[in-house]
Symmetry: C2
Subunit: 219 residues, 2 copies
Amino acid sequence: MWTVKVVGVSVLAVSVTVELLNWLRRRYKKRKPLNEVLFFPSEVACVEHLLSPSAPCYCALPHGVDTSFSRLLRHVLSASSSLDLCVFAFSNTDLCRAVLSLRKRGVVIRVLSDKDYIAINGSQIGPLRKAGICVRSDGGAVYMHHKFALVDGSLLISGSLNWTLTAVQANMENLIVTMEPELVRPFVQEFNRLWELSDPARTLSNGVQTELERTAGHD
Amino acid sequence: MWTVKVVGVSVLAVSVTVELLNWLRRRYKKRKPLNEVLFFPSEVACVEHLLSPSAPCYCALPHGVDTSFSRLLRHVLSASSSLDLCVFAFSNTDLCRAVLSLRKRGVVIRVLSDKDYIAINGSQIGPLRKAGICVRSDGGAVYMHHKFALVDGSLLISGSLNWTLTAVQANMENLIVTMEPELVRPFVQEFNRLWELSDPARTLSNGVQTELERTAGHD
């Protein structure tokens, strides 16, 4: 009788412990970070519902279709605090509209682009600058060939795709969209490094210093 | 006395269960997949110890330095069964030597490259073809602009970096190296899709069909 009671209580204790540990595991289990891959060329479809949600659209393109490009736009538009963009070529007008709408919403935007590509016909860097967005380019490298964006410092969009219409609609391209901290963190650090490196004040102050040094040499 | 015994046995049962569950968790815990980011331009250093490990090198470059490029080379050379390469521009001779050494080791290699870039001066596609490596290019897209490699179907290397010397030594570039299945799987599927799409036999059979249809139309 005594043995039966002890075994019974032990089984109960083990069951309660297992249940409790399972509950704790489920409760505090780390959620798997977002990992998504987008391939291009993207199917051509209307994206006005993303860029101007309040205005109805009657264009001839298919509506309400989920494409690689609409997914890219959604990820960019999901920014609530910051967008750091580091892209070689930026001529896609829909992506430019998306960035401008973020700016209107008060999202802090920093853009790094290639020094040569900035001035090219069709580049959307001009409209971004006109809207007061800070754009920098570095003169050190042959090409600033990156194509990545950081949304709110926690979502990375990176791959072969430049922000151009040809890349989106005609080329074979890829983009990785991830919130994996081991991948996002190095890109955040690299963006901040390149941003500081491309600070015009830095170049100017270097210039002034050189001028002062030259003058001192003549004294 | 009876209560003390029951409590004692229950505590023992709970302790044993907790220890057992912890052991099982450690034993069968999923290992976190490799995630690494490489930035370029890479520091210039000798990589002969990776490409010709048996031959001593007396070149003037720094030796034994771990750089972004040496890490890229190590990942490529780690292939034991297959290398699927899908890259817009391939003119880097060290990367070509790495691929050729894999070929000698019996690794199955498939290369997809851009149709226009293949014929450009300095392209390493010629030496690969001469070594019997199967290279395909697709005529459908404006540019086959991908820059990714799949090592043994489980390690993905993807980013902005073309396999050229300028990209490695002069440009600002990035590469994500990952074994995360959610990222690797779509690239494996896309490579296989593009490989089938670029099958010359497919184009030829389509051509023959069109010729037959045309002849039939004239009958």
